[in-house]
């Protein structure tokens, strides 16, 4: 076969030669017939050479199956005897993966990059995350980091912390590759800490402090108790709060709700609310000012403000 994997729609040629001593037992003059899967193909060029070898060549001009079995058969006593087979596959070379981005999960200490693969290639296609430790703007590469090969069908891959330097630049991209070709995504030049994503903070109702004169708690205020993600108190973080009344679609955003500091937990008041009203509140944090990804929103907290 000219090639067992070809470009979808391209042409493929095959040749079948049958040795005379194969033909001896069957004695009678015979003919080679080609089948594509179960379908007999029209007559093809055929020729018995001086040395007795029976040869037939066939060309499939536009092969538009992603997979098919091409069988070389002999016509024998009105039956088609399959003598040889070739598996033909067809598809496309991969397109450059797009939407390439990376996130450093602070808790698991794993750098996970994800991308959008192009249209299906109909062929087994490997996606490999390639990366090099680099200097400041990834102009020059230092030592390579071990390739990360995405599991079948997955469009993400994760690099463990022990292969990374969290505060050094990494030149990183993803390569798509199959039998027909390869393609690369755009490159990112990041240090893992710049794309760190923290676990969501915890938001709770603050216990009414016994000493505090309850009149101090104005009707339009809620006292909130917050706690940042575990093992993140070495990072300066800024947090923002969103709230709305149950059923309302739009959220009111208070940003920043907690200014950048390394304080790990505390109580803060949220005022300017309606009295005797139920509110749903959520908090999220980000490494700030040194930058990272926003954490997911905390679990919702439902509280009701005091009567007037």
């Amino acid at each position: 076969v000219s090639a067992s994997v070809i470009h979808l729609g391209a042409s493929v040629t095959a040749s079948c030669t049958i040795n005379p001593n194969c033909l001896k037992p069957i004695g009678t003059a015979t003919r080679i017939v080609w089948k594509l899967d179960l379908e007999k193909l029209p007559e093809s060029w055929q020729h018995q050479r001086e040395d007795g070898i029976l040869q037939s060549n066939i060309t499939l001009p536009h092969f538009n199956h992603t997979r098919a079995m091409l069988s070389c058969c002999l016509l024998w006593k009105e039956t088609l005897q399959i003598i040889e087979q070739a598996e033909l596959k067809a598809g496309y070379p991969p397109q450059p993966p797009s939407n390439f981005s990376c996130v450093m999960n602070h808790t698991t200490q794993v750098l996970t990059c994800q991308w959008k693969s192009g249209p299906s290639t109909y062929l087994p296609t490997n996606f490999t995350l390639k990366s090099y430790k680099s200097n400041d703007n990834c102009q020059s590469r230092k030592e390579p980091i071990q390739d990360c090969i995405a599991k079948d069908g997955e469009s993400q891959c994760s690099i463990l912390r022990n292969q990374l330097l969290l505060y050094q630049k990494v030149d990183i991209w993803v390569k798509a590759e199959n039998v027909l070709g390869e393609a690369e995504s755009s490159h990112l030049c990041i240090n893992p800490m710049e794309v760190v994503k923290l676990d969501p903070p915890i938001l709770q109702a603050a216990k009414a402090s016994p000493g505090l004169d309850s009149s101090l708690r104005q009707p339009g205020c809620l006292r909130l108790k917050w706690k940042k993600a575990r093992m993140s108190n070495h990072m300066e973080q800024m947090c923002e709060l969103q709230y709305h009344r149950p059923g309302e679609l739009t959220w009111v955003l208070v940003s920043p709700f907690l200014n950048s500091s390394t304080q790990h937990e505390g109580d803060n008041d949220l005022c300017g609310l309606l009295s005797a009203t139920r509110y749903v509140l959520q908090l999220r944090c980000i490494r700030w000012p040194m930058g990272g990804h926003w954490s997911d929103w905390s679990r919702s907290l439902e509280l009701t403000t005091k009567e007037r």
Partner: protein, 173 residues
Amino acid sequence: PLDSSNHLPPSFFPQIQEQVRKIQNDIEGLQQRLCADYRLCHPEELILVGLYLGIPRPSVKNCYSQDLKLVACLNQLYYGLQFYQGLVRALEGISPELAPTLDTLKLDIGDFAASIWQQMEDFQVVPEIVPTQSILPTFSSSFYRRAGGVLIFSQLQSFLDMAYRALRLLSQS
């Protein structure tokens, strides 16, 4: 007077601050565990064992001296961090419960050293590489390894306090 040619970029110290805090958090976790699990809570209770183990300390005089020289101090910090990375590696096997945090500590020290190295590379200066293997202590029993851990973590905290003060001073100049 500081050597005038090199200055630390504004972004350097905030990042170092974060890295030092992370390492100190790692150490606190290890110290709490050694106290809770093995009742080894105070380095002052292990002075005699310390004399016996003979745990070396890296020199830090360039970061203490009055005429604080940036590159000389960075070089000594880099040397010290490599040294402590070696000491922490010698503690491997201290206990299964401490192993994950010990690995994290090693990686965090390595990151801090890489930040110092990167800054020196930006100053076109090549830091001194430490043949740490030869000077590291060996611990002949699990007790000695745990006691060594308490002493090393305490020394490393003081080293980090000193590094933090020196780098803050250098970044303000």
